[in-house]
Amino acid sequence: MYPERWLDIARLRLRSLFRRAAVESELKRELRAHLAHETEASRNSKFSPHESQFTALRHLGGAAQIQEQCRDMRRTNHIENVLRDLKYALRSFGKTPGFALMVTLTLALGIGANTTIFSVMNATLLQPLPFPHADRLALIWETFGPGPDNTNIVSAPNFWDFQRLSQSFSSMAIFDSSGRGYNLGPAGNSKQAEQVSGLRVTASFFTVLEAQPFLGRAFLPEEEKRGNDREVILTYGLWKRRYGGDPSIIGRSIRVDSADFTVVGVMPQQFRWQFWSNERQLFVPIGYTKTDYGRGDNSFLCIGRLKPGVTIPQSQAELASIAKNVAAQYPKDDANMGATALPIADYGLQWLRIILLTLLAAVGFVLLIACVNVANLLLARGASRQKEFAIRLALGAPAGRIARQLLTENLLLALAGGAAGLLLATILTRVLFLTFHLDTLYLPMRPVDAIHTDSRVYIFALAVSCVTGLLFGIVPAFSALRANVNDPLKEGGRGQSSARSHLRHALVACEVALALVILSGAGLMIKSMSRLLGVDPGFKPHNVLNMVMSVPQEEIYVGPPDLPRFCQDLSDRIGAIPGVLAVGAVGHLPLRGNAGRSFQVEGKPPATPGNMPGASYSVACPGYFRAMAIPMIKGREFTNNETLHSPGVIVINESMARLYWPKEDAIGKAIRFGGSNGPRLTIIGVAGDVHFQGLDSPARPQFFRPYTQAGWPIMNVVVRTASFPLSFETPIRKSLAEIMPDLPVSEVDTLENILKSSTGARRFPMLLLSAFSVLALVLAAIGIAGVVGHSVVQRTNEIGIRMALGAGSVDVLRLMINANMLWVLAGLLAGLAGSLALTRLLTRMLYEVRPLDPAVLGGVSAVLAAVALAATYFPARRAACIDPIAALRNQ
């Protein structure tokens, strides 16, 4: 209302803060002027000059008090007090640098660990999607049967129906669920052919995402037709890297999969797309193939943008009713089909959320342990400062003022620890990122290039530091203030009340309990990891090299191969390299995804639509099973004699043989691929089971067709070598480039690495949890040793008397150890109870280990008890070495 009033106030506050001396002298002058006026007034009356001065003084009252009250009115007192407290705290830490350093380091470890985990969370889960209004984006799924894991990708004809009939979405698009590598021919300064990850998308794809090319245009609806689909949109990264950021590329044609494609657009830098794979580098029109027209051929992911105001449940209800009608119309392909929409924002993040929340809880515990240690250090320090506080209280300092000073000291310590922790976290996140290849997490739509320490991380670290400062400061502050003014002064500054010592031991018990919970978690994870690594994958990964080749074909997922000699060429060329023991190729490498196909078992009554038998499906080149060392239980694997002109054959795995031909020999039996009218395929071999969905998933029925009879656009070439497999990369590349110059290989890696990274989702939390539990153990040991050491010092006198009265050093040792281990034991029991309650939350991350595994709980309790005993023993031994005469003289 009166802006000048706020200016006045601001001016006065600043003046009281920064021109303190002037303000003070002004106050003195004002009071002096008052006194002068008063004296003058009295002089005019009946009093003598001396008396008048005295009366005036009496009237004025205590000048110092008035001054202090006037100071209070300035409202800047608290700032001045904080500054004074800070100065005092710094001075007192300067006198005990060891203490300050110890506290800072302990807190740095705790806060650093928390900030690290938060940084990872911040770079992954908390990243906003790189699309406008992402909250209105939803994935649209076909569903089969009751939930929750009943979602299926969609077929193109069903998508067309959804798109035509739905009113909830302003736009809808589909894109390849698997996508593939596209082979770019040599161009400009890149002489080498190169395989880059690409995706077929409908023209509406970019509309749904509200993202437009910054050069050129998006795809046109007519380009979705086969034959009109030779256009390509480049991502910013690919355009810069391979085409030098040349804007004149729009309208030019580039070689993609040995054909001419016209570059129609380049996406802006912030547009990045990854879903169920690594980041895509180029987009091509969907160009529906013959197989895409199959209503039962589900091979697309569907994404839609909700109209403003339409909620997810509304769209779900609408899709469900649309799907019901579609299913009724096409009972053969869509029997029992439903459809649903799920928000895109948190799709596919559940496991990471569980892992990170678990880790956050674990580091939270570590921080609590660190707090307990610091609280204990403060209590020990508080004991020696009792006298200081008592004197200040006796001199009239309000308890609140002392509490405030303690709070300032604690916050100062916490902030120092927080700053050091932040530094630690920036280093740790970098190490984590490199160690665990977090850039290959491939979170849906959230590419992670690096983990930045951004403002949110700073705020988190600051908040954690402040909370920490309050947390570890509370107990010591209460303990300091509760103290009677008289006792410490009488005690002569020595000795501590037994309540205080109990308090410190109780804190140790808490620490032990917290450490045990983390240890149990880590123990369970380690045990389940060792179980998992003990699982026989079904193939022998040692000395096998894998590489991915993109072999495009006209009819993408079922048709005959465009390159019928592909397998033959592979084995001829690569097999001729000295040191290569076997060569094969497969559509789906174990542990890296799979596809499914339905069939009818010949000789059994035909199943009704929607209930057809199905199994995991892939294609393989001759030599695949030998290269992987997957045993053939019966029959044989494919040879180059299987061709399009010979009868169709398949190799099935043991699980499939057991399921469909339980008491018979499967060899020679046949299936009808895709249904009773499909091609007849005869079983020629039964291979050993492979855990193709991951070591933690049991083997499921699976069958293979030979590549020569049914092609597949992405082939994994596996090469078994006599020695170090990576050394074969160059000769293999060279020999392949001679016969297939347009088909570069990519993702060259050893099978051992692939197997190892397939356990990454468990390895990451296991290793981190183990690291945190070691940290917890070390902190707990330091805490215990500190408390025992302190109590030895405190009880020197008592021990001296005991020894003088005849106690031996063993008795003293036992006394000290017993006193502490009782508390440790209490902590262990509490920790066990805590573990029982909390490790249940880990269930989803465990493999063949129950959260209440007695061996793990017993083991970690024993480890913790042993560490606690050691941490008690060494300081306690000092008590046993006390010289009674010296101890008593010391008094």
Partner: protein
Amino acid sequence: MSKPSDLIQGTLDLLILRTLSLEPMHGWAIGRCIQQASNEVLQITQGALYPALHRLEQQGWLRGQWRESETGREAKFYSLTRAGRAQLAKELAQWERLSGAVGLVIRMEER
């Protein structure tokens, strides 16, 4: 002699603001003025007066200025700011309401 606690809470502020609405004055003169105007009933101790003056100044209702007093002495003269005048009006209204209400209660007829 009235102690500040005898005054209804906040009344001292009102008295000071009202006094200063006449003309700018220094601290001693304000106390004197209140005392005389109240027929020596209200005596403001300096221990209450100066903190109150400083509080009102810090709230932006008074402005302090060093000037020579009538006796030729340097003194800090306080004057009302624009916001202070508004505040005075507000407090006056409140006082009227309160004293009116108290009066009603005191004069109510016994039944």
